[in-house]
Amino acid sequence: MSTTTQGRLVLLGINHNTAPIEVRERLAIPASRLAEATRTLLHQPGIREGLILSTCNRVELLTLQDEISDGVEAAQPQIRTNLLTFLQEYFSVPPADLQPHLYEFREREAVRHLFRVASSLDSMVVGEPQILGQVKEAYTIARETGAVSTHLELLLQRTFTVAKKVRSETQIGSSSVSIASVAVDLARKIFGSLYGKTVLLVGAGKMSELAARHLIEHGASAILVANRTESRAKKIAADFADPTVHTEAIPFDDLYTQAPRADIVITSTGAPQKIFGRSHGQHFLHSRRNRPMFFIDIAVPRDVDPRMNEVEGCFVYDIDDLQQVAAANLADRSREAQAAETIVSREVDKYHERLQSRDAVPAIKALQQQAEELRKAELVRSQTKLAALTPEQREAVEALTRSLTAKLLHPQLTALRNSARTKDPE
């Protein structure tokens, strides 16, 4: 097994595929303690550079460790032990609880894993955009604590470039896969921008409130809340209170007169019968001079008569419809993930080649320096014979010897670079 001159890259971690939540939550590091944890990691023997990525789905230690020239095979367990010791000591978790869930990647495979993680190919929901931000945050903290310098700096910058490339060259993150974001997407297909739009929340429920929050985040400017219990309506409206959002609790009895004010209606009541029928849709559209209305019916049994969808300008999506769109989008992402994997593989090769070329740099520099010294020595030896030359002639001789040296060195330098590139990383 060969290694690079910059050190040995090792990545140790657990994620949602290898460890249940009970284990992951024991290793989770809050953002406020990440800097201190990174410093502690850096104090472990043999660790030159390090970064800790801690999200709800993974905890990973990316480290650059000292090169071990002799007894490499024997040293392998030691490298892992250092990181394990850190995990056990820092989190006070017995080794037996951790060992079955840990994975480890080295050198080229560590690079591949990091590229995949940042490109959201290793995420629970493939293509989700948060992970790149989390990797960047981990990088910023590690950099501020002095835990990232030359090698990891190069690797992480490349990681961000690859992640952006995957996003721009594939459609991996273009479609929504959660109910709330699907609802936002659909609303945008109807209204374009959501700025200035009014949302009516009928009933209460976590999912409906989440959908309403997503709509506000995307620009909706008013929330009307209708609930059979008025105090509950007022409380929900208060929960949405924000200087940029108009909130209003409306009496349930005024629901049908107030509903035409809303562009988007989210219903999630526990009513056994339908609240909105087809005729309501016609009436609302008439009041709104045919401006479209979007009904998101999250209730089971449903609150909105599906026949309302037949009314021109009314769009009714129930929970099954939303889930169906989300599932189709997820399938699309899986297809795009294959294209993304190809990009990652290509980028791993490129990165490795670049790294190997960097390995050859000291040898190349030494060879060039030696040749230059020889050239200068030969010129000094012939100084007396060249004394009669004019400054122009001396300059020409200088140029000639420099050119000859470069030409003579060229095959050796090329061979060195090629040899570094083709060197087996493992």
Binding site: I190, R288, R289, R291, E312, G313, A328
Partner: protein
């Protein structure tokens, strides 16, 4: 030489028409980088070709059907670019660019041989009359196509298709349709007014008794009525397409009447 530039423009329209399909139907935005530059280049060559064509014929306005078609195609391509610049959507190109391609195709490979003896052919007013009316027709066609796009998107949303193509939002297409109509109204009004003043000066009152001319004024009334209905009842979707289609048929009838009118025909065989 003008035909060569027109042929180049037609080829570019064809390329652009194909390139918008992946953008609009399969959500492949990178094809936009082919569609838009190809359309811009096509518009440039189209303009050069038209200018050379008119210059060579020593008149300022399109005389025969082919020249008029060419100018209409150019205006539609410009409308597509304006919509792209304003709304960042190329979806209308699904319809508009093939129309530009077809409007340029026949004149490019089979140029018209007609001539005219109309005395005011070299005046700027007559050019304005033709150009403004063609701009109104282009605006109406744009509005009709935007309404069609609205209808397609509305159907897909109602069918709850899990893979919705990358069509513009309903409100955007509605705005395009309405704004195109609002742009077309002053063009049509001014175009008809200028035409009427020229006719009054050259032919006299008898001009206004011609069925083609009466149909043209009826077209203006229908156009105004359509805008009124759309604005005041918020007409959208299927009914908006029906209404726009009806007005478009009236416009086609007015256009076709050019071939039969005794007082309003540009060309003489």
């Amino acid at each position: 030489m003008s035909l060569l530039w027109l042929k180049v423009a037609v080829v570019l329209y064809g390329i652009a028409a194909l390139a918008v399909l992946p953008v609009a139907l399969y959500d492949r935005p990178r094809w936009r980088h082919i569609a838009i530059p190809a359309t811009v280049a096509a518009v440039f060559f189209h303009f050069v070709s038209l200018a050379e064509m008119l210059n060579a014929a020593h008149h300022r306005l399109p005389v025969d059907t082919h020249e008029t078609q060419t100018l209409l195609g150019l205006l539609l391509a410009l409308a597509f670019l304006v919509v792209y610049w304003r709304y960042k959507t190329v979806s209308l190109g699904i319809f508009l660019l093939p129309i530009c391609f077809l409007l340029g195709l026949v004149p490019a490979f089979h140029p018209g041989q007609e001539s005219t003896s109309f005395p005011l052919i070299h005046t700027g007013w007559i050019f304005l009359h033709v150009a403004l009316l063609l701009a109104a027709y282009a605006a109406l066609l744009l509005s009709l196509l935007a309404s069609l796009l609205y209808l397609i998107q509305e159907r897909r949303l109602k069918q709850k298709s899990s893979t919705l193509p990358s069509l513009p939002p309903l409100e955007t297409t509605d705005q395009i349709a309405l704004k195109a109509l609002l742009f077309g109204l002053p063009c049509m009004t001014a175009g008809l007014l200028i035409g009427s003043l020229i006719a009054q000066a050259t032919v006299g009152a008898s001009y206004f008794r011609d069925p083609k001319i009466l149909l043209a004024f009826a077209m203006w009334l229908v156009y105004v009525a359509m805008i009124y209905i759309r604005r005041h009842s918020g007409l959208r979707g299927r009914r908006a397409v029906y209404l726009s289609s009806f007005v478009f048929l009236v416009v086609l009838a007015v256009w076709a009447a050019n071939q039969f009118s005794s007082v309003h025909r540009f060309t003489a065989p």
